[in-house]
Amino acid sequence: MRVVISGYGIYSCIGKNVAEVTESLKEGRSGIGLDMERKPFGYRSCLTGIIEEPDLKKDLSRRARLGMSEEARYAYVSTKEALEMAGITQDYLDNNRAGILFGNDSTAGAVTEAVDTIRAKKDTMLVGSGSIFQSMNSTVNMNLATIFKLRGVNFTISAACASGSHAIGVGYHLIKSGLEDMIICGGAQEVNLYAFGSFDGLGVFSMREDEPAKSSRPFDKDRDGLITSGGAATVVLESLESAQRRGATILGEVTGYGFSSNGDHISNPNTEGQVDSISRALKMADISAKEIDYVNAHATSTPKGDMFEAQAIFDVFGGKTPVSSTKSMTGHECWMAGASEIVYCMIMMRNGFIAPNINFENPDEVSRNLNIIAESKNANLNTIASNSFGFGGTNSTLIIKKYE
């Protein structure tokens, strides 16, 4: 069973929809800024992706909105856009089975607010009825499945910074094996004050606060850490038969999903595990490394992480394949990143360009071996690979092809 992409949507710090994000990717625009509340709260770094809260009052009832966490609100917007692009109406969903798989790995904002209220009021009832539905990791799934009345597979995948990628990979397999016809896949990430405190505490965030747009610089010799961001990204996957039956415009095809675990350190990556993930994806897609036209790297702008991945990319692809990390513009969208980076790749594929790895000014001893694209470049992309690697050594690689 072939698995195709018929729609996608995005809500991120570089744009609130596909059109805005397309412009940002072409122009190499950074979405990074400063949240000055972070320093007095105890953060080391105020750098973050700047995201505006969507106003859903006109779209959704009070009851529908009450249970939605910050990341679920973002995911509603990206999913609405993806469904519209795919030509899927509510009437279609009412009459046909569709599933939902989202990547999400925290609900710190909702949990913290609820606990603060309970501590202050000493009465659990006073957190209100929506809190529980905001506070569970599956908040995106439970809200969107209810809003869009979905009746297929419905669960959340938590796999650190590879969550969104694994969600698409698992969706691909469920359709490929004939268990579902259509699955709404994606990833979502909260950006509130409580979301990243403990992450900041590891000392791995960039401190280049005087130059926010230059702070995320994957593969650059002078990178000093990552900048977190968030939002949501949605990809509509369906079987080729389903898309053809609906008369949908087919935008791409998922042909490979590789995954592995490093079996090593909880935060340090390793090259072997990453090579295994990429190699398995290529094997599943039944293509050689040289058939990949572009690699969207996981590279987050940390000194160590980028070095391990640069080596893994070099080991598999050699030094000619174009590589960039869109995190140079978006920052690290964490649980959402694996899905948003597929959306960024789809945008590049459809519009014939490679989004730049901005701020790549000087290579280090490993990244000098790669063909890193530092300026936006026109390119006909037929097949792309996208890497996502997470804490605990979880690795995921997706391969997307133009539909022929």
């Binding site: 009070r62 009851r63 009450l66 009021k121 009465d123 009832m125 006073l126 209100g128 009825s129």
Partner: protein, 82 residues
């Protein structure tokens, strides 16, 4: 707090939190039908009552409330004895 003030405060949070049109509220209408309340909504009523009037309502209390007028009276009475 006078009954008029209670009515005004209650209608205010019903408009704000429950998104009902105050002009359409019938004081003799059945509360759960007027507000289209399900079991989850009663939790949110407890929250808004506590935040506006400073006392907590229990599930048992709601059993004595049928109409919106009953609801206003209940609040006035509770508020006086709080």
């Amino acid at each position: 707090m006078s009954r008029e003030e209670v009515v005004e405060t209650v209608n205010g949070f019903l408009a704000e939190e429950f998104e009902v049109e105050v002009d359409t509220l019938d004081p003799n209408g059945v509360l759960h039908e007027t507000l289209d309340l399900d079991s989850l909504d009663y939790v949110d009523l407890v929250v808004v009552i506590e935040s506006h009037f400073g006392f907590k309502v229990t599930g048992e209390d709601f059993k004595s409330i049928s109409t919106l007028n009953d609801f206003y009276d209940f609040i006035v009475n509770k508020h006086e004895h709080a």
